[in-house]
Structures are given as C-alpha cells and as structure tokens.
C-alpha cells in the first residue's frame, strides 16, 4: 500500500459499563479478565486500522462483534473510551463540536442499514438535506441533488416520498444523500443487509459501478462474508470487539490467521478470490495460447485457460511476469493445493 493514509486508528477502545474510564487510568491496557471483573463490556478492543486513499476497506463481523460500534467510533458518533484517531492529518478525538460539525458537513458521508431517510421529505428534499443543513440556497442544492439522483439511477422519482419507494430504491436515496457533499471518506454501515438477496446483488453491482466512477475512500461494514469478498480491497475480520485479521480477500482465503477466520473462508469458492499471479509459474514455455492479467481471478479465466493446450502468459504493467497452465487452474477449481 503506497497510497496515503486517510484515516489512522490506533489502539481504539470502546467499553460500556460504569467505571470504564477508570480502567485506563494507570496507563495500562486492560485484558479480558480485568474487563470481566469490572463487569464492563468491551465492544471495541484495541483496534488498529489504517485506511488508505481510494480503497474499499470492509469491516466484517457477525452481530455483536463490535463492527457497528467501531465504525461509529471512527466517525465519532460514539465517543471512544481510549485510543487515537487521525483523520486527514488531524486528531479527530480532540476536535471541538464546531470542528466536528464542519468535518462531517464537508468530508464525511454515511449510509445506514435502515436507510434513515426523513419520512416527511421527498426524494429530492432528502438528497438535498445535507446542503440545506449547510445553509445552501434552494436552487443550488436542488440542482446538485438532481445530479446525484441521476447518478444513482432514480431519475424521475424526485417528488416521491420514501414510503412510496422499494427498499432498494430507498437505499439509493440514502447513497445519493451521502454523496451529495462529495465526501472524502464514505462510511457504509451494512447498507444492503435489509434488502432481499436478489436486490442486494443488484445493489452491490451498482455500488461497484459507482466506485469505479468516483474512486472514494470507503469504510464498508457487513456481516456477509461473500459481500465482503466481492467488494473489498482489504477486509478486517472482527470478533468480540477485536480484529482477528486484516488482509486482502485473497490473502484471507489463502492464509487465514485464525481458526475463526478459517471458518468463514472454508466455504468460499477459492477460484473467485484467488488471482492468476498466485498460481503462475516462471514463463518457460516457448509458445502461449494467450495473455491474462495478473489480477484476474481464476474463476474469470478458467474456461479459456482450461480449454487451451498451451499455457497463458501472465501480464503485469505490460510485462510478462509468468505463465499459468490449465493444470494450475484445475487445481484451484477442485481445491487441490
């Protein structure tokens, strides 16, 4: 990762219960036993993550794993008990209320699980709402809102009320609303969890399409491992408030750090995660059937490579870095390692 870090979160804790603050008084960090003894619940425990510009960082965990609390700590909707958070080079936790309002108005956007649309406003008014809060005049904000609505594919529904829209459409409004201020950092808190599986898939595609256009820095929360793998540049797997592993989907599947992570990766179709470069060998053949990109998933090239008699060249930045054979592809497909 050579892109600059936008959000740097170091040793962040969030404890619930009376006397939680006192646990940090002596400068030491409490362990699970101390927490239990003080009957304090550790929703987020000693989390360290760096989020780089332009990446999709997915925080994956089951319910109660602390992922929602963590993302609220990152946006300071919830006040962390201890730790440091640096956003865009400034200390987020020491920001005053006024500064925080300014940061949120201009630099952050958030999409919510239950959409969180204002029931008394139309689609247009909902999307324009963040600008209304900032005191932008009606004509300007509605013009911007129309553009974003167009972007998320809701053109023609500007005058609808949220209750008149389907779940997927409502979340498009939520997405449009969070994008209207052109945030530097975009939080999505389980944005598709409340939707039906088919719609969810469609929205994921839509999300990928948007991200390819906008190239935002994204923190995406989900409990759905498949969704995480589909969308993420990097995934942080959370359990009991702690991060078990942070890695790219491919690394996660290839080398799960803990048994817990392995439980998730076991049932993932490896061919959809593993990329050509991981299974190439030095280019020794004299002739090739064709070229594949180094970061193409095995799944996407399997058909082609398996059918050919000759290996394929693996290309990165216009250079040949190796070859991949039908045998290697089949190994991945049938799960031989």
């Amino acid at each position: 990762m050579n892109k600059p870090v936008i959000l740097d979160c170091r040793h962040v804790w969030k404890l619930y219960g009376a006397g939680a603050d006192a646990l940090f008084n002596d400068g030491k960090t409490p362990d699970a036993e101390t927490l239990a003894k003080a009957s304090v619940i550790g929703a987020v425990r000693d989390v360290n993550v760096q989020i780089h510009q332009g990446e999709i960082f997915v925080i994956m965990g089951l319910s109660g794993s602390g992922k929602s609390t963590l993302v609220r700590c990152l946006s300071r909707l919830v006040e962390p008990t201890a730790g440091e958070i640096e956003f865009d080079g400034r200390d987020l936790l020491s920001a005053s209320d006024a500064e925080l309002i300014e940061i949120r108005r201009k630099k952050m956007g958030m999409v919510f699980q239950q959409f969180a649309l204002m029931p008394h406003l139309t689609v247009l008014e909902n999307v324009a709402f963040p600008l209304e809060i900032q005191g932008v005049d009606r004509a300007t904000r509605e013009a911007s809102a129309r553009k974003v609505i167009e972007l998320v594919g809701l053109h023609g529904r500007e005058e609808y009320y949220p209750r008149e829209l389907s779940g997927g459409q409502q979340q498009r409004v939520g997405i449009a609303r969070s994008l209207i201020v052109e945030p530097d950092l975009w939080f999505l808190d389980e944005p598709f969890s409340a939707l039906d599986p088919l719609i969810r898939r469609e929205m994921q595609d839509e999300f990928i399409r948007l991200q390819n256009m906008l190239k935002k820095t994204i923190v995406f929360i989900t409990h759905d491992f498949d969704e995480a793998i589909r969308l993420a540049d990097r995934i942080a797997v959370m359990k009991d408030g702690k991060i078990e592993q942070v890695a790219t989907p491919e690394e996660l599947v290839q080398n799960p750090a803990t048994e817990y992570v392995a439980d998730f990766t076991r049932h993932v179709a490896r061919s959809k995660v593993v990329r050509a470069q991981s299974h190439m060998e030095p280019a020794t053949s004299d002739s090739f059937a064709g070229d594949v990109a180094h970061d193409a998933t095995i799944d996407s090239i399997a058909d082609e490579v398996e059918r050919a008699d000759l290996p394929f060249r693996v290309i990165k930045d216009g250079k040949v870095i190796g070859q991949i054979t039908a045998r290697a592809v089949i190994d991945v497909l049938v799960g031989r390692s």
Partner: protein, 663 residues
Amino acid sequence: MSGFARHITRSRLFWAVLFLATWVLSQFSFQIYKALDARWIIRFPKKYQLNFDVVVGDFMDWLVNTANFWLFTFRDMTRAIAWVIEIPYQFLRNLLIEGFQTGIGDTAVQIMPSLSWIAVIGIVIAIGQFARDWSLAALSGTCFLYLAVFGQWESAMITLASVLVAVPIGAIGGLLLGILAYRVHWVELLLRPILDLMQTVPVFAYLVPILILFGFGPVAALVATVIYAMPPMIRVTIVALKGVPKELLEAGRMMGATQRQMTWKVLVPSATPTLMVGANQVIMLTLNMVIIASMIGAGGLGFDVLASLRRLDIGGGIEAGLAIVVMAIALDRTSQAFSERRMMHARSGTFLNRHPWTSATLVIVVGTFLLGLLIPAVQTYPEVLTISTGTFWSSTMEWINVNFFDTLDALKTMLLKGVLLPVKKFFVGIPWLWGIFVTGLIAWRIAGWKLGVIAALMMAFIAASGLWGKAMVTLYLCGVSVFIAVLIGTPLGIWAAQKPKAGRVILAVMDTLQTLPSFVYLIPVVMLFRVGDFSAMIAVVLYALAPAVRYAAHGIREVPPQLLEAGRMAGCTPRQLLWRVKLPLAMPQLLLGLNQTIMLALSMLVITALVGTRDLGQEVYIALTKANAGQGIVAGLSVAFIAIIADRIVHALSDTQKQRLGL
C-alpha cells in the same frame, strides 16, 4: 381433604386471612370501640390532625398579598398572565360572536360584525376536506349546522373561542417542555413526578387555587384548562422524540446538523405523526376542561349544562349536553384526521390552484360579510328558524319517569341494597389504623417493600388530614364502579375482538364515549336516577367503560396466531381456546385496561360530587364553593394518592404477569 389442602397455596392463604381479618375488624369496629372505650379506633384523634390545609391557605394568602420577586409582585405576574390570555380570547370572542366595536357601553359602535355562521361552517368544512376528505367535511359541517339550527350557536362559539385559545398554548407549551425534557435529562427527572401527580390530581382541586389567583372568569378557566391539557402533550412529545429511530439521529449528526437543526429539522418533523396524536389529546382535554371550568366562569355550553343541572331543567341540560357531544365529535374527528394525514404532493400553479381551499374559504368569508350587511339572516342564523328540543326532551324524560319509575326504582333499590350498601359498610367500617397497615401490606406483597412504605405513608396522610371516612367512601364507589365496568367491558372487548363486524361498532361507540367531556355523563343519569351514590356509580361506569373494552379487545387480538393454531391443533374447543389460551395471554393488557379504568373512575368520581356523593370529591367541591385552597388541595392530594397507589399496584401485577409469560 388432601385435594383441598393442595389447592390452598401459601399465597392464597395469605389473601384469605387478610380479607377475613379486615372483614371482622370492619364489622365489629364499633363494638370494639365501645368495649375498649377507645374512640381513636374509628376516628383519627382531632388533636393530632395535620393542619396542612391551613398551611396551604396561609401560603396562598402570602402569595396573593405579599409575595414579591424584587421587581414585581406575584400579583403583577398573575395579571400579566391574565393579560396575555385575555387578548387573544377577547379577539376570538369578537371574531366569532360579538363583533368588533369601538367605545364602551352605550357609546359602543360596531365597526365590524363577527364571522357569519355560514362563514364559520364554511371554514369547518374546508378544514375537514383539507384534513381528510369530503365525508369528514360533511360530518363536521353537519355538526356545526346542528349547533346553529338547534339554537346553541352563541354558547358553542364561546366554548370554541376558549378551546381555540387554550389549544395552541397547551400544545406549543407542551411541545417545548417536552423537547426540553428530551434534551436535558434532569428536566425530565424533575417533570416526571409532577406529570404523574398532575394526571391524578382531580381537576376540581386546582380550580380552587386558580380561582384565588385569577379570580372568577374566563381567564381563570383558561389557565386551569391549559394546566390540565398540557401534561399529556409533554408526555407524548417525550415519547415521540424518543421513538425517532436512532439511525435518523445519526444521519442528522453525520450531516453536521447543529443542536437546533437537529431539533427542528430532524426530530420534530419526523415525530410529527405521533405529536399530532398528542395535539388531538390536547384538544379533547381542553374541551373537557372548558366545560368543567364553567364552574369558575368559563361560560359557554358548560355553563348552560351546569345552570340546567342546578335548575333541574331537564330539557335545557340535554340540549346543551348534545351540543357538547356534537362539538366533541367534530373536533375529535378533524384533529384525528390531521394526525393520520400523510405528506401530500404539493400542488403547483397560481395561488388559486395551489390553495383552492383557502381561496374558497376567503370568498365565503368576504361574501357572507357583504351579504350579511344587506340580509341579517346571512350574518346571524335567524331565531325563528331555530328548533328547540328542550320541551321534547323534558316530556320524554317525564314519560320515562312516569312509565318506568317503578322499574328504574326497583333496579336502583336492588343494586343499592344488594351491592352498594354492604360494600360501603365494609369499607367505611375499616378502622383507619388497620386500613393503613393493610394498604401497606398489599402494596408490599405485590410491588415490594418500597411501595409498601410509600402506600402506608400516603394512607396515613389521608387519615391524619381527617379525611379517612370520605376516602373510604371514594374507595368503595370507585371499587364498585370499576368492578361493574370491568364486568361489562371485558366481555364486550372479547366480543369485539372475536367478531370483526360487532367489533367495529363497539369500538366506534367506545371511541365516541371517550371523546365526550365528563360533564355530559351526569345529565341523563341525574334525569333517570336523581342524585346519590347510585347515580354517581352509573356515571362513573359509563365514563370508565371505554378502556376496559379497548384493552380487552387489544389484548385478545394481540395473541400470537401461531399459539391459537397450536391450541386448535391440540383440539381445544372455542371455549377452551378463550379460557386457556387467549385470556391468560391477554392478562397483562387486561390489567392495563383495569388500571386505566381505575384512573378514569377516580377522575369522574370527583365530578360526580355534583350529584351528591359524600366522598373526597364532595370535599373538593365544597372547597371550591368556599374558595378554600388548603382544603381543596389536601382533598385533591388524597385522591391523587389513592390513584397513585392503585396505579403502581396494578402496574406491578401487569409486569409480573408479563414476566411470567416471557413477553
């Protein structure tokens, strides 16, 4: 024998022994007093009596005569409040009835007439159409037309003016206080006990101090009305704001909303539907209180009822009573429609296109004003065309009394002798010391030792204020009425829940019953049964019936369908299904209904003092007529204490049931 023994659990034994002991003591308290020659057993000794009422009286004197806040006296403050209320009230009176004048007395010159009756009805219809549809417009239009045709127009407009002044003050004040309580935690902590008390102190009780502070007249009545109608709005506001989804708040914060924006752009607008329910309550309570407050000079329909009741003018009472009913229905349906109204798509185009109703109404108002200058009948509904039903009602009542007097009297005597008097004897006989002890014991047993101590202290306060006897009469009347109301209401509720068609009718009737101001209930009861405990009981039963029915219906309907299916698959007969599955599961709701029934019964009981009961209500009423603030407040607090004890005990019962059922 062994089977019998097994049935007597320790808990049942406790209650049986407690009841038996109380009964014996109650039966023989007089004999015990004679035997021991200890009069204190049945009467709280005079020399230890608390003089709380005198203290309150002195305090009121001090407030009115000497209290001084550096720059202004308390007197100045009440005058300022009176002035703030007086101005809009007088304006509305001018607008609706009297017309605008310059000069005073004989030299008065009318510069503008009041709104014509046609204009008022037109406005009502337009509001109805705007709030929902033509059928609502027709209903409320008809209601107001009734008022004109049946000669109640002037009184009704006075009442309406009071309502229109009190509602905005109550609703907006309640909203602001509710928002404050939502935002500042200690305000909520401070408000909660006050709200609890306000809801249980009978309305008459605070009429007395207000009468002293503001004098007899419409302003005092309006102040009392606002105080009475505001607490529910505060409560609803707090609940509504707390009910706003957490994500919506987070969304607001993530957009960088300031505190003020958060309140007015996120919280309040998204809580509006619930807030409108609160506004509906404010309107109905205001109407109720404006009627009652005719006792301290509100005038209008309430005064007509009160005057007729005093004169025993049967026809006039029913006429005015019906007018109140009609007005209550119109106000209730319209404000309910507003709370159910959803955001509508805005119309576009010229002013006329965007606001067809405002425009049409303006045309009617101006048109009838101009026409009214030429034709008086347009301005004021012609008197020759009014229909008086007074004589009709009088003769109907007379006819009923002539033909059914024996039947009604027999029914009355039977219930009096068979139920009311024995129960009264039981309650009144309980020696005060034992009564305090038993109340504490019951509260402790059901709701824990804290409530036990509080309940005993509250009862001790009542005894020490010399009100024990009257409190027991209150308890007996309330107990019998609630028992009968539940006996009638629960089966009705079950019926309503099981038969949708019957249910719609029953619940509609109950809804209407609940919107009627409590005063109205007295009219037919007094006509049929004269004054006394029996009349009071009937009025209380009628007034308190609605929650028993509603909660029963609600509880039965809420039973999860899969449990009913499980019951049916186990081969339950419909009867078994009701007794073994539905009723046990609906028990928490039934208990909440019981609680509401008790609360309504107690509030009605105080009003029935007008028909001659000898309970705490009478004490408050006497205090009102003598303008004795101390006496009124002490008696009012006593009623409130009984209400609070009952409320906590029933709630504890309901909670225990809920826990047992794992709800």
